[in-house]
Symmetry: C2
Subunit: 417 residues, 2 copies
């Protein structure tokens, strides 16, 4: 039999838009021995995790808990649970992940209408509102922060319109949650889906979500208790909706598991829950405001450094997603060769992009635990060195100095606070 | 703001049919810093994990990898990827998890036919084969080991029949994989779905699966490349199947992510993959045969101990699932009070059951890392003490002695080998 070696992963500086580095305290949490899923200690940890999710999502929604799967499992869980075949869903697209929402909604049997704006910008909210009036969808699904293009869509006005018209607004906040404000209740978002491996900085594998009573009403109209758990004395619920097309993602069942009833569904992913609990605890200990500011400052330093070496940003800077910086790959430079040198010589990972942007831009994340001065300065220094090595002419030394200029102001501000 | 405390879970002896205790080496693996999903070190770890999955599932199937979700995510991924609405699926049911297969298949739009035998036994394979001839399904889905009733279904004859008739046989081996033989290729199983948190003894959160080229042909007939990743120059594939009704569980996409193409789908759950890799590595280091024998011996000791204290087993002993022992709760004893005392006084967790068996039986698991002499002896001693405390009359001291008798023979055999 082949002999397999013990794990011994290299230490990396991970500056992609996810997954990003993980706080050692979170890694340690995953190494605790597990509890059984119905152990009172574990169920109270589940309850506490719901409280933590509520705070991070800035909501009073009762239903605020993780789906056991990677980020897109949260997207699919919400969409499949509320979309009945034939429902009209409007998806405004400004990057790859808008297409993903279309893709998922179509597979749920929705009648999907989409509008698209050029990658690299976002929608004027009025454009979306006009499309809402024109198409009269039952659901609007859209992305808050597009990691594929580094853009962020303002949502408050769209939220208000949807509420007035009694339309459900569901938002993919995978890239933004924990890094920039996501004001679920203030912006009148009906469901918000997050991810762990970006600004929350917990390994991929859970999708914290939240949804309000407008969504819950829809779920309850479609609810079925699972075969094999049904109380024979209890007849089927008097609900008129169509059965949800997934068992694993049936939020009407999952919320029963997260409720005091603890009706068995899946077996909660223990160690991932430990990680999420610890990650959110650390996040709130830092404080949402302080964390958002940290993301802003490091992004600003990175941007100034990038410009300092003569590179240009891709996309509209006014709607730039704080935690993702997209850079045009200069003519004559092989983007993948640069990424490969960064990884192999410097142990730093940055990202390429998808679809029409493949080979045209690099993407650098400044997210969560990876988002710090040391990482930004190392990345700028390394990128400069690699570009010189690849024959690109640039003003050597400027990048790191430009970033240090930002930090010297920012750090002074912080001291004076 | 509320102050949340650091994690500090109690140490438990977990003797349920999952989740069970985790080897400290696996817990440690989860505490390693993460790698990016396309880091060559990580993708080679993915490839190695596929090899390990193949060995444990005793198969040569190329496609052998984990789905990112709890065990039932693997069940749903296989079923939703192969069932086209209207397809006839036969499900033979002998416990709760047979009902789950019906539930999932129905939600995939299948025309489900089921046969059921009394909980506590299994099917004579001939009965299933007759039902196959009668109903002529395209797919047969069944459970290998029913944790709800502690029974195990022989599959080889059913496998042979399905192959002859060109029917796909998909098997839920969540409870059995890694604890008792699951001979994917020999038994002619087309897809097998496992879980991590039982005999593999990795925390819940991944579902290793395997499937052969008969399944793959079905997937490819339904394949769509994801919107936003499609090469504009490339038109839609010339496939004639209906689109798979899930994006997250679309195995035709997930296998591309696990292939050399590495076409982006989800972000692989890094730390869970570390855990699975380490868990499977440890499992194969012990060796499949040695591991199966360990499961047999400990189960035998447990059974003799249970009988020694005057309790009776639930279900047919001839088809007993090695790693789950179901015990009739004696008349006059409150099963939940016993479980509660075991947990709170002794730190030992055993399980109750579901549906018609709720309140009637206890279930004790002897799975994976939890399956050892120390745990079995502790559990027997503690259960005896609790039963005495609850007023049950039993021959004090006999249980542990009966188990020790088994171990003295077994350990001698091992020394003489």
């Amino acid at each position: 039999m082949k002999k397999y070696k013990e794990l011994n992963p290299s230490l990396r500086t991970i500056m992609t838009p996810g997954p990003v580095e993980v706080d050692p305290r979170v890694l340690r949490a995953m190494s605790f021995p597990i509890l059984g899923q119905f152990d009172p200690e574990f169920t109270s940890l589940m309850n506490e995790t719901m409280e933590l999710v509520r705070e991070v999502f800035q909501t009073n929604n009762q239903w605020s808990y993780p789906v056991d799967g990677t980020s897109r499992s949260g997207l699919e869980a919400v969409l499949v649970s509320i979309i009945q075949p034939g429902d009209k869903v409007l998806v405004p697209i400004y990057g790859r992940f808008g297409h993903l929402l279309v893709e998922i909604a179509e597979r749920c049997g929705a009648d999907v209408v989409h509008i698209e704006t050029e990658w690299g910008g976002v929608f004027d909210p009025e454009t979306v509102i006009e499309a809402i009036h024109e198409h009269k969808p039952g659901i609007v699904a859209m992305v808050h922060g597009e990691t594929s293009t580094g853009q962020m869509q303002p949502l408050a006005e769209i939220g208000r319109t949807c509420r007035e018209l009694d339309i459900l607004l569901v938002v993919d906040a995978v890239a933004t949650i924990g890094g920039v404000p996501v004001e679920t209740d203030n912006w009148m978002l009906d469901a918000v889906m997050g991810g762990t491996q970006k600004c929350i900085s917990v390994p991929s594998g859970m999708a914290p979500i939240t949804y309000n009573d407008r969504i819950e009403r829809k779920l309850l109209s479609r609810k079925r208790v699972e075969r094999g758990l049904r109380d024979p004395a209890n007849v089927e619920l008097a609900n008129d909706g169509q059965m949800i097309r997934s068992n694993y993602f049936d939020l009407s069942q999952i919320q029963d598991y997260w409720s005091a009833a603890r009706l068995n569904h899946h077996t909660e992913a223990t160690s991932m829950l430990y990680a999420l609990h610890e990650g959110l605890r650390i996040l709130l200990e830092e404080g949402l405001e302080a964390r958002f500011l940290r993301h802003e400052h490091n992004a600003r330093a990175l941007v100034q450094g990038i410009k300092g070496m003569g590179l240009t940003l891709f996309g509209n800077e006014e709607s730039k997603l704080t935690c993702v910086t997209c850079i045009n790959i200069p003519e004559g430079i092989d983007g993948e060769a640069v990424r490969s040198r960064l990884l192999h010589d410097f142990g730093i990972e940055i990202a390429s992009s998808f679809g029409p942007l493949k080979g045209k831009i690099w993407r650098i994340g400044t997210m969560g635990f990876s988002c710090n001065q040391k990482n930004v300065l190392h990345t700028l220094g390394a990128l400069e060195a690699v570009l010189i090595r690849e024959g690109y002419r640039l003003p050597a030394g400027e990048a790191v100095q430009a970033a240090l200029d930002v930090y010297s102001v920012v750090n002074k501000e912080e001291i004076s606070c």
